[in-house]
Symmetry: C2
Subunit: 241 residues, 2 copies
């Protein structure tokens, strides 16, 4: 049941929401959490004075940035590439494949940073719903990408196989992507709950910024979905497909 | 892009997941959190010894039970009623309407219990992403229900209005429902994080039970979606529509 709206219009909203949530997560991590760093010079501070000083969080701040901008936003742009871009189908297919591959790689690096931060800070791994669903999402995303590559790109399945696979590829792709958006929201809530337990104000500017980042990420995911399921109404002059 | 599977088969999985997640949330609230109660005899204990003794949590335990069984599961069953039930369309429409109304009422009562618990326990209201999204979901759900009632049931819009509204009703309904599932997952993670901060073991049986309740709720939501978008393949003998 397609929505009779030119998908390009929806895609403008999607891109705008991507920009807003990217700015928000960068402002949060750079201005409130002390910036982005792969290594932190003083490991003992990370271990011992954990949750006391915002400058100790620089290492972990790569995680939300990589997961939101690298994984969620690039992945969303990959999904809507068929509907949002004015190129020929083979070009859009290649963009779809490359954007998803980039999202997958950045997502894997982002997950690695979470383990690295936990290990260097003596925090338990893989106990929370966020981590469980996150591992499920990245594994399913990888399987979905490999299946898409083999069946639709190289070496490519038979015509019947591609025709029969496409609805499942779309359905499972949307499911995994919805799960990714939900997992991101869980991550923002989890991190903010930890921070609030350590003194960050529940109604303060940082709490509002994190909550609104999550809300814009959820809205971005919704508009990815709206763009994907919309079809131009007849006589709209739409020629991007 | 419909999935060529008899929706009734998907609906069996959906009902099973509903049963499992209902049992899980009841076991959690009754066996681990001290049972369900609208009032608690010793208010001072709720205020002062908060997060120390599981028996203090009886009042709030109504919230997850009402929201999961009352709101999420009844709402999901309402969504799939068109695809899962072997009745005539007017009967299924009435079931769709009544189940959604029941879900909405139980959801409102469930939200009230959260405010009641917070107010009686001196906990701040409406600061978390869970609460913000939850309020958004219940308002959108109510608007969606009223619009559906007026346009599709009584007094009912014109043929053109109903035809043009249906894709939007389906799309926005699925969006609000996905948001409801995500909000439920946020609630489980938030509550468990509070409990873990108060001594509940991160890898203990309660933590696993809560995480798996959330995972089964998410899978239930996914299968509601799969049931809704599936169409029986030709020559399947399916006659429920």
């Amino acid at each position: 049941m397609a929505i009779p709206v030119n998908p390009v219009y929806f895609s403008y909203v999607t891109h705008t929401l991507a920009l807003i949530s990217s700015i928000f997560v960068l402002v949060w991590c750079i201005s409130f959490r002390g910036g982005l760093a792969w290594e932190h010079p003083d490991k003992t501070l990370i271990f011992n004075v954990l949750l006391r000083n915002k400058h100790k969080f620089r290492v972990i701040c790569i995680h939300p940035v990589l997961m939101l901008i690298g994984f969620i936003i690039l992945g969303g742009e990959a999904i809507i590439s068929y509907k949002a871009l004015p190129f020929e189908k083979p070009v859009k297919k290649l963009i779809h494949l490359v954007l998803h591959a980039t999202a997958l790689i950045l997502g894997c690096i982002g997950i690695y940073t979470a383990f690295k931060y936990h290990n260097e800070s003596n925090i338990a791994n893989l106990y929370s719903l966020h981590s469980w669903l996150g591992m499920g999402v990245i594994v399913l995303y990888g399987i979905q990408w490999i299946y898409g590559l083999v069946v639709f790109f190289y070496p490519g399945g038979s015509h019947e196989m591609r025709r029969d696979s496409l609805p499942w590829h779309v359905l499972l792709g949307m499911f995994v992507y919805a799960l990714a958006i939900g997992t991101a929201a869980l991550g923002f809530l989890e991190k903010l709950t930890f921070l609030e337990n350590s003194g960050v104000a529940k109604y303060g500017s940082e709490a509002f910024l994190v909550n609104f980042t999550a809300i814009f990420a959820v809205l971005f995911g919704a508009f990815v979905f709206f763009t994907a399921v919309s079809q131009p109404p007849p006589h709209d002059g739409y020629s991007a497909i």
